[in-house]
């Protein structure tokens, strides 16, 4: 038991995490592509036309995965940032830093695809509704985290300031999630609930889950690519980095 815990801590050092991440990246890319192709096939060729929204509902296959990922990445980012703050582990803070741009990308995609869905269905590109507003705040939290880290020269201090911002911002996640219940909003309720059967056709559900898996694998792959760059940037004065590139 003790041995295995020590094994895990070994990967908390940039030196052993750098090559490990490099070995994992191709597998996550492969998984992202496989799930993506299967998900797109179902999205366009298997899932039936919606009775109310016609073909326009197909936006769900990218909108929901992007929205889920934006919230999930935020939680993971705050977790790593918090861990870095508590234990002072270097890789955790770098991981949080690597996730932020991907989280911002997912929040942007959630807002863009949502707006493209809102226009034909609600008649407006944007409304100041609880769900939309809280998702916009999430995008600003990602951007704020990145800007704050970029504004502080000393990386360890930047990590601490960023971690506090990330942890305070976590309060926004349940607000986004429950906004459709707490407030009377234009946004439709969730299609998948833990305590009742999903309110959609089985094939639509499968398409959405496969696309969510593809987005998930994509996010891991791209965050690992970025964390490798961050490790090299921040550890450049260490001996192992000098030898790693030989």
């Amino acid at each position: 038991m003790r041995q295995s815990i020590v094994q895990w801590f070994r990967f908390a050092s940039p030196q052993s995490f750098y090559p490990l991440a490099g070995r994992m990246i191709p597998w996550f890319w492969a998984a992202a592509i496989v799930f993506g192709i299967a998900g797109l096939w179902i999205s366009f060729f298997v899932a039936p036309t919606d009775a109310q929204q016609g073909e326009g509902y197909r936006i769900i296959f990218v909108h929901v995965p992007a929205s889920w990922m934006s919230m999930f990445i935020y939680l993971v980012m705050a977790f790593w940032a918090g861990l870095g703050l508590a234990l002072n582990t270097r890789v955790s803070a770098m991981m949080a830093q690597a996730l932020a741009p991907t989280g911002a990308l997912m929040a942007t995609l959630s807002l863009v695809t949502g707006s493209l869905w809102g226009k034909p269905m609600w008649g407006a590109w944007w409304v100041w509704d609880a769900r939309l507003t809280s998702e916009l705040i999430l995008l600003f939290l990602f951007l704020g985290f990145m800007a704050l880290q970029a504004a502080i020269d000393d990386p360890r201090r930047a990590d601490k300031a960023g971690a506090i911002l990330a942890l305070v911002g976590v309060v926004n996640i349940p607000i986004i999630y429950f906004s459709v219940k707490w407030w009377n909003t234009l946004h439709q309720g969730s299609t998948i609930n833990l305590n009742k059967a999903p309110s959609m056709a089985q094939t639509m559900l499968w398409g959405m889950l496969l696309m969510a898996l593809a987005f998930w694998m994509y996010s891991i792959a791209v965050a690992l690519m970025r964390v490798r760059a961050i490790i090299l940037e921040r550890e450049r004065n260490t001996e192992w980095v000098k030898h790693a590139l030989e």
Partner: protein, 64 residues
């Protein structure tokens, strides 16, 4: 398969702009981001290689 023709598929029942706009935006950003991440890694490696070369040159000068 419920599309009768390729044209019908691209028309998306009149929602072409919205559906293709959404999938297009995702495709675009998800192609650009890995490219940028890759470039950042390459740049970090280039800088490191340059620094190492500079160190070596320093060392040679000192020794000569």
């Amino acid at each position: 398969m419920h599309w009768n023709s390729v044209g019908e598929f691209f028309a998306m029942g009149g929602y072409a702009l919205y559906v293709w706009g959404s999938f297009g935006a995702c495709a675009l950003l998800m192609i650009v981001e890995p490219f940028l991440a890759r470039r950042r890694l390459t740049q970090a490696r280039t800088i490191l290689a340059r620094e190492r070369l500079a160190d070596e040159l320093d060392l040679q000068q000192k020794n000569s």
